[in-house]
């Protein structure tokens, strides 16, 4: 054995050790997801459903083929963005529960581009900019209230969600309404619709907006000085302030970035979701409803990291897409709402740090395995270090 291999091997061992004793983030997310699915299964069997049949239908409907994958990805598109809203602010030390309202305003702003004609391409960009600006503006009010009056952002963003909901309903019903079909707003013109990516599905090029923005945020937070300041302010505000970071600025920045993400989420829904490309005022904004709240679950499971969020969004998008199949599955139709129960249980499980420690058996077993592995390799490592 060469001198190079030994430290590598011990590093690998340490990795395995961390994985098995519960400090590994990916494993934690996986366990939380399993716990959530288990809670869902227990509830389903209490209500008299057959849980494994339902989950089979759900997984079939989520990842069973290219059509299913496309619809899962299409549902993941806005979730990635609303999850980013929550995560960016959490990284900066703030709880922004306002993705829901910021997304409503973004969607309404995107619909407003029907009032003028532009060549395709430019029209898309203008729509996205509209949504981003309005989303950011909507999230700036709670940020300003926090800075100037010290109002907890949790309460103010939630109040702004309700205000945004009623404002969006008002605008959708009375102002930008389609005169021929009063239950919906004007449709986005052809020049501003995102083209469909996979034929005969509802997956559009909007997914590239989501993934692109997630990558931009990743780069910004982990590879620029501004991002470093933002994360430092979130980890330890007083230390960051002593270090010369202007925490008020990073707070504002996180809310602006979060608002942009939520606004873009609204835009990807109205500009990229066939068949009508419009917001439905009648029925209370059904395509937009709860996307912001689901985004928080995605952010948690994605460990507030842009790359993790993309993976988690595909999982949750799959739950939503598969849930639609599950509710019409033959003799065992489980209502779609079960999906949200599972999401809630997953978030509850995620809130327990080092979840695996609650399973002492698993921990003990893991440690024993590590010890025996270590004993087996100790001889060679000690030989090298000596």
């Amino acid at each position: 054995m060469s001198t190079k291999e030994a430290p590598q091997q011990s590093r690998l061992l340490r990795g395995v050790h961390r994985t098995l004793t519960g400090l590994h983030p990916v494993l934690e997310s996986l366990i939380a997801a399993l716990v959530g699915l288990l809670v869902g299964a227990i509830l389903m069997s209490i209500w008299g459903f057959h849980p494994w049949k339902a989950y089979f239908a759900l997984i079939q409907g989520a990842y069973g083929g290219s059509y299913e994958w496309a619809s899962s990805l299409s549902r993941a598109t806005p979730l990635i963005l609303t999850a980013l809203t929550f995560s960016i602010c959490l990284r900066a030390g703030m709880f922004n529960i306002g993705a829901e309202g910021q997304m409503y305003m973004g969607a309404i702003a995107a619909v407003c581009i029907t009032y003028f004609t532009l060549p395709p391409g430019l029209h898309h960009i203008v729509g996205l900019i509209f949504a981003a600006v309005v989303g950011a503006a909507w999230s700036l009010i709670p940020a300003a209230l926090k800075l100037m009056r010290g109002v907890s952002e949790v309460i103010s963003t939630i109040m702004f969600n309700w205000i945004a909901r009623w404002l969006a309903l008002y605008l959708a019903i009375y102002v930008i309404v389609d005169p021929l079909r009063p239950e919906k707003t004007l449709s986005i013109p052809l020049t501003a619709r995102f083209p469909i990516l996979v034929p005969r599905t509802d997956l559009s090029y909007g997914i590239f907006v989501s993934i692109g923005f997630a990558l931009v945020i990743y780069f910004l937070l982990w590879h620029t000085a501004t991002g470093y300041e933002l994360r430092a302010a979130g980890l330890n505000p007083s230390a960051a302030r002593y270090g010369g970071i202007r925490t008020k600025r990073t707070m504002f920045l996180s809310f602006i970035l979060g608002g942009i993400a939520a606004g873009l989420a609204g835009a990807t829904i109205v500009m990229g979701l066939p068949p009508t490309y419009a917001v439905y005022g009648g029925g209370g904004l059904p395509q937009l409803l709860n996307m912001g709240f689901d985004g928080m679950a995605v952010a948690m499971v994605g460990r507030n990291h842009p790359i993790g969020i993309i993976v988690a969004a595909v999982f949750f998008g799959g739950l939503n897409a598969g849930g639609r199949v599950m509710q019409f599955y033959g003799s065992n139709p489980v209502p779609l709402e079960m999906v949200r129960v599972v999401m809630g249980a997953i978030v509850l499980a995620m809130s327990i740090p080092e979840l695996i420690r609650l399973f002492p058996m698993a921990k003990k077993g893991g440690q024993k395995l590590i010890q025996s592995l270590r004993r087996a390799t100790r001889g060679t490592i000690e030989e090298e270090s000596a």
Binding site: I155, G344, S351
Partner: protein, 297 residues
């Protein structure tokens, strides 16, 4: 607007005040001990649903008790995660809200009608007849409870222990107080009060369950707590103010002349909440260890 309108407006305000006051007072006890529960919204919704089912099975009292039990149990889970298991309180609260939203919508579908469920008049709680209308006895409780809790927090040993657990858990621990158990008990009481508030909405007040029944009341109750600075009497006042604006919104909506579009009227309670909270803040001070789990060195 004549005299009878004002009376009916105040009457509805009193009704709307009850869930806010009960939830806020329960949350004050929890926050004094150091637990910040944003899952109140979900607890209200779940207990309204459970209370309705309980009432249909065994009458109004069973309904209220089931509501309290479900609220207490959910809060117990919240407290367990955030004391012994050192969880993140915000995230737990968000999880409870998501779970409740899904569970109630799911349960309503299982009961027959998607979206809403009527509680039969026969199992609604009795009402006290007074010269100015019918009142539920729960209103009386909501008016008395803040005074009791105020006395409890200010004048009793247990109240002081509660404060120590939130203000200086380490000192409390050294003094022989079991911080985690105190927090657990406080949270269960808070959850039971929120549960009573939820069951009151479905069993005694509105007589129905919808999947959006709580309509932000849990968060408005949190705003009451923020406004009050953990003083139960001020929380009662705040609950009445917010209840009044909810009643006002409902009243304006029923006016035949429709002076303002309904959507804007519906915004009113939330806007008032924001204004009141941003006006009141600054002078209030919260326990030092609010929101952080206690870890022994």
């Amino acid at each position: 607007m004549n005299f009878s309108d004002i009376i009916s407006l105040l009457r509805i305000s009193l009704h709307a005040m009850v869930p806010l006051a009960l939830t806020a007072v329960g949350e004050i006890v929890g926050e004094t001990a150091g637990l910040f529960n944003i899952g109140l919204e979900g607890i209200l919704l779940m207990s309204a649903f459970a209370g309705a089912i309980g009432a249909e099975a065994g009458g109004p009292y069973v309904g209220l008790l089931v509501g309290m039990g479900v609220g207490g149990a959910m809060s117990l889970l919240f407290a367990l995660i955030n004391t012994y298991w050192k969880g993140t309180q915000m995230v737990t609260g968000i999880g409870i809200n998501l779970f409740a939203m899904g569970f109630v919508a799911f349960g309503l579908i299982q009961l027959g009608a998607p979206g809403f469920h009527d509680v039969p008049r026969a199992v609604s709680l009795f009402k006290i007849r007074t010269p100015i209308g019918l009142y539920s006895p729960v209103i009386l409780l909501a008016l008395i409870l803040p005074f009791v809790i105020h006395w409890f927090l200010k004048r009793t040993r247990a109240g002081l222990m509660l404060k120590a657990a939130g203000e200086m858990p380490e000192a409390a621990d050294v003094a022989g107080i079991n911080v985690n158990r105190i927090r657990l008990l406080a949270a269960v009481f808070g959850g039971a009060m929120a549960g009573l508030a939820g069951a009151y909405m479905s069993v005694a007040w509105l007589g129905l369950v919808t999947k959006g029944l709580s309509a932000g009341r849990g968060f408005i109750a949190l705003a009451c707590v923020v406004f009050s600075g953990l003083n139960p009497l001020l929380a009662l006042l705040a609950a009445f103010i917010f209840g009044f604006f909810q009643a006002l919104a409902e009243w304006v909506k029923t006016l035949p002349s429709k002076p303002i579009p309904g959507e804007f009227v519906s915004m009113l309670p939330y806007i008032v909440t924001l204004l009141v909270v941003s006006g009141a803040i600054g002078r209030v001070r919260f326990p030092k260890f609010l929101g952080t789990p206690y870890k022994r060195e």
